[in-house]
Amino acid sequence: MDEKKSEVLQGTLDLMVLKTLYAMGPLHGFGIARRIEQLSEDVLQLNEGTVYTSLLRLQQQGWIKSAWGASENNRRARFYSITKQGQKQLERETQNWERFAGVVGRVLRLERQG
């Protein structure tokens, strides 16, 4: 596996999960996966299992927390929600991403010269 690629991918998945939790409030893993799937409009091929790896990572950093609760159809499910620190991190990461995306965008808009 090429490490560089996965790292970028990893970072973006974490960011998406954080943002989803920020926007939607507490969700279980399945819910997060559905939401990202919806938004990605089939552009992103997501291995849903990786969502859980991302969730564990975020939890270890203290950016999200989890609690057991009942799902819509009354099954036991673990609900994840964003913490205060997570919100700050989201802000930072969003700015980073926008700066990065801006740079990439500018580079890509370069016209062919001469």
Binding site: F30, G49, T50, T53, L56, Q60, Q61, R78
Partner: protein
């Protein structure tokens, strides 16, 4: 911040692993079920839906695995799996496993062995004492002399002053530092037992409960009104009195005095300092009557009490020391003659008296360094063996890594294996150390009044396993890092050679290091051992063969001077009459014994003041002492029996004193004033100077005089081996007086093992370290060369096919081994010479760059290395080129 948070989270997860795994599995399962439900709603069959859900989810097993790995560092389950697999691998290679374990066990074991002594002599607090951490030793310190000699125990008067005035201690107790031998008369038979005199408050201050009977009280210990009471040592009570439950209130005849037993100490309590173990305790104030030593309690010049106090609540060592110093100055003000410039110093309590601990610590520290180096060699050996095994396991590593095991996973597996090895070695090391320290204790001369136990306690176990853990990491790290750096593609295509060369270069570096340390160690320990041999071969100035000795003290039975004289006359006559005895004499104490008497002499008639008198050591002897001991008489004559009977003022001096007093003159007939005597003593003989206090001393001026005390050492010269004479002394003593018992019966050779003991023990340990280092290095070198020959079989075959002769092959192999040996030797000897300069002060009769030692170590190690290379080289010579080439 973040790494810490992750760390804490992982540690937390370590303990809740099972539940977390179960919950996570449930979570994934639910996710899959929901996905499948969605697909079913889209019209798929249940089976297709489940498959589609799994496809969309990805590799669930991998997610679970990742989850487990990320959650905690080392899950107990995986650790257990690694350990089991490791154990299986170790069993599969019993040869190398045994090699590593034995090398490490020897290395760790010697360190553990030294540590058991450190523990016994420096660390273990006295047993059965309440909170020993609060106790402090109180010593007087002379402001003039430094080192061990500067510290003094207390006189009774000083102890009493401190005890009555000090506020920083809630109690200050004292005891006689050396236990005393006393005669126990039991139904007409004399038996020697050991007494310790203790202050009346000792048991209460130390917090030692008396399970049977009662403890002493301060009322039992009044100098004006001593009470003959004893508290028995528990093991003495069990062994000698059959654990008599009604012992309290019974009496014992000790040195002719009737003592009443008032209690039995708890099992395990043996006093406050190791390693002397008394048989019973009795109040301090009984010392004068018991030892027939009037004035001991009041004499301010008699320093005999070790004092220990319990810090009062709120007091610190510093504040207590400050207060004690003030009190010491107060004593100095009232008694300037005895206490001039005497300060006070505190030490934490330990098995040895405080001032001595520093020296023992320095000595054992040196031994720890030496054996630490041996352990380094053992580590290098183990690392070498692990690497050989590692290159053999390259395929295994490659397959595992091809199957998806990360490098971290492989390193962990290797680390677990080396830790397993080192733990096995630790267990073996503890057994080895226990046996070795017991063997070392057997070296302690039987006449030494010591009873050292070197128990393997928790502290020793912790030390051993800590060392083993460090060792495991040290020797395991390199092979683990090397062995796991595998390229599966190459390895699986059987292109092993590249990796092999790399690892053999690493092993060459290792073996060079081993030879370096070994040369350093051998050089250092050979110097020390030779210096000790030099010190031991010093002539003590008297014969060390065919002499039997024993201690006698009719005074302890309270006999009058006349009766004492009669006893000795009869004993002398009976001994002389024995056919195997050639002569018999007496001395107040043997030279090189712990006891000492000194005084000052001035040539008679000189105007010298008393202060400028020449200090001399004094021995009190009977006629024939010099001929019995084999001390050559240089001029003049021996004492006559008549002079001895009359206690005439005649003396024999040694030639050192003769030269000091009358250089170039005939000392015979000269007169001196000895000590405070008013009359003159005439010199009648001059004997050759011997050794009196220690074997290493500079010549000491000594005078021999008559006027012997009741307590004497009998010296008996025998025609043949003196062992039988010990029985004769015992028998004849009883025959002359049924109540008397000769004690400390020993031949002069046994006696000499006492002053020689420290040197012998050190020499043995250093010698063992040197031999161990040599053997381990030899095995290491042999292993490296053998495996390199095995690896190069093909190359050697090609060379031979191309026309290389057998001697060329031999040279090739030996050159490889000798290059690393030469480099190691050069560095090692260089370091050795530098280190030996630090030892200069300790070396006796040998230079730190002694050429013979240097040459011996060089030649010895080179020869050993040559042999280690030759054996594999011979195998290489026999390689059949055809077979070697076909093999590939």
């Amino acid at each position: 911040m973040r790494p810490i948070r992750i760390f804490l989270s992982r540690i937390r997860e370590f303990f809740s692993e099972r539940r977390a795994n179960r919950e996570f599995d449930a979570e994934l399962h639910e996710h899959l079920r929901l996905l499948a439900e969605r697909f079913e709603q889209k019209g798929m069959s249940p089976k297709d839906a489940a498959d589609a859900a799994r496809r969309q989810f990805g590799n669930a097993a991998l997610v679970q695995q990742r989850q487990r790995e990320a959650r905690t560092y080392l899950s107990p389950g995986e650790l257990w799996r690694d350990a089991r697999f490791g154990a299986r691998m170790l069993r599969k290679h019993p040869g190398s496993t045994a090699g590593v374990v034995i090398a490490l066990a020897l290395g760790i074991g010697m360190n553990t062995c030294v540590f058991t002594f450190v523990n016994t002599l420096l660390l273990r607090p006295p047993a059965k004492v309440k909170s020993p951490g609060e106790l402090r030793e109180l010593w007087e310190r002379s402001n003039h002399s430094s080192g061990l000699g500067g510290y003094l125990p207390l006189s009774y008067a000083d102890y009493a002053y401190f005890r009555d005035h000090v506020r920083s201690f809630s109690g200050l107790m004292a005891f006689d530092g050396d236990s005393e031998a006393v005669l126990w008369n039991r139904s007409g038979q004399g038996d020697v037992v050991r007494a310790e005199f203790v202050s009346g408050n000792l048991f209460s201050v130390a917090g030692v409960d008396i399970p049977l009977g009662r403890a002493f009280t301060p009322q039992d210990d009044q100098p004006g009104n001593p009470r003959p009471l004893v508290i028995l040592n528990n093991s003495f009570w069990r062994q000698r009195l059959a654990a008599d439950p009604a012992i309290v209130g019974k009496t014992m005849m000790l040195n002719g005095i009737e003592f009443t037993v008032i209690g039995v100490a708890p099992p395990g309590f043996v006093g406050l300092v190791a390693p002397e173990v008394p048989d019973f305790w009795t109040p301090l104030s009984m010392v004068e009557r018991t030892l027939h030593d009037p004035g001991r309690m009041s004499n301010r010049n008699s320093y005999w009490l070790l004092a220990e106090g319990r810090l009062a609540p709120g007091a610190s060592t510093r504040s207590a020391e400050a207060e004690a110093s003030v009190l010491a100055r107060e004593i100095e003000a009232t008694h300037p003659d005895t206490n001039k410039d005497l300060g006070a110093a505190l030490f934490a309590v330990g098995p040895l008296p405080g001032p001595a601990r520093g020296y023992v610590a320095a000595f054992t520290g040196l031994l720890m360094i030496v054996f630490g180096l041996v352990l380094v060699i053992a580590c290098a050996n183990a690392a070498g063996l692990m690497m050989v095994k590692g290159s053999g396991r390259a395929r295994e590593m490659a397959i595992r890594s091809a199957l998806g095991a990360g490098r971290g996973r492989l390193i962990r597996q290797m680390t677990v294996e080396s830790l397993l090895l080192s733990l096995l070695a630790a267990c073996a090391a503890i057994a080895f150390a226990a046996a070795t320290s017991r063997a070392l204790l057997r070296l302690v001369p039987s006449n030494m009044p010591l009873s050292i136990h070197v128990p393997v306690d928790l502290r020793v176990l912790v030390f051993t396993f800590a060392v083993a853990l460090l060792t495991g990491i040290a020797f395991g790290a390199l092979p683990a890092l090397r062995g796991t750096r595998v390229d599966p593609v190459h390895v699986l295509k059987e292109e092993l050679q590249a990796g092999g060369y790399r690892s053999s270069r690493m092993r060459n570096i290792l073996i060079t290091g081993q030879v370096t340390v070994c040369a350093l160690l051998l050089f250092g320990s050979t110097l020390c051992v030779r210096s000790l041999l030099n010190a031991n071969s010093i002539n003590p100035g008297f014969e060390t063969r065919n002499i039997a000795t024993a201690q006698l003290d009719p005074g302890s039975l309270g006999y009058s001077d006349a009766k004492v004289k009669l006893f000795y006359r009869d004993l002398t006559a009976r001994m002389r009459a024995l056919p195997g005895v050639s002569s018999v004499s007496f001395v107040n104490h043997l030279p090189l014994d712990a006891a000492r008497e000194d005084t000052g002499v001035i040539p008679f008639g000189s105007t010298q003041s008393k202060e400028s008198a020449l200090p001399v050591d004094v021995f009190r002897v009977a006629p024939e002492y010099f001929s019995t001991m084999g001390i050559p008489m240089l001029r003049g004559r021996d004492f006559t029996p008549e002079e001895s009977d009359r206690n005439d003022d005649v003396i024999v001096i040694n030639d050192t004193l003769a030269v000091k007093l009358w250089p170039g003159q005939d000392p015979i007939g000269q007169k001196v004033k000895v000590g405070d005597a008013k009359t003159a003593s005439e010199v009648i003989g001059v004997v050759r100077t011997g050794k009196y206090r220690t074997l290493g001393e500079q010549p000491v001026p000594v005078l021999f005089r008559l006027t012997m005390p009741a307590q004497r050492v009998i010296v008996v010269r025998t025609l043949a081996r003196p062992d039988a004479a010990l029985d004769w002394i015992r028998r004849e003593t009883q025959a002359v007086d049924r109540n008397m018992a000769a004690t400390q019966l020993q031949t002069i050779a046994d006696f000499m093992s006492f002053p020689l003991f420290p040197a012998r023990a050190t020499g043995l340990l250093l010698g063992a370290a040197g031999v161990l280092a040599l053997v381990l290095t030899w095995i290491g070198l042999f292993g490296v060369i053998s495996s390199s020959v095995a690896q190069r079989t093909r190359e050697i075959g090609v060379r031979m096919a191309m026309g290389a002769r057998r001697t060329d092959v031999l040279k090739l192999v030996i050159r490889q081994g000798m290059i690393v040996t030469a480099i190691g030797l050069a560095i090692g000897i260089g370091c050795g010479l530098a280190a030996a300069r630090l030892l200069r002060a300790l070396l006796y009769g040998i230079r730190p760059d002694d050429p013979a030692t240097l040459a011996g170590v060089l030649v010895g190690l080179a020869a050993a290395a040559m042999l280690a290379c030759y054996l594999p080289a011979r195998r290489a010579m026999r390689v059949d080129p055809m077979a070697a080439l076909r093999y590939e």
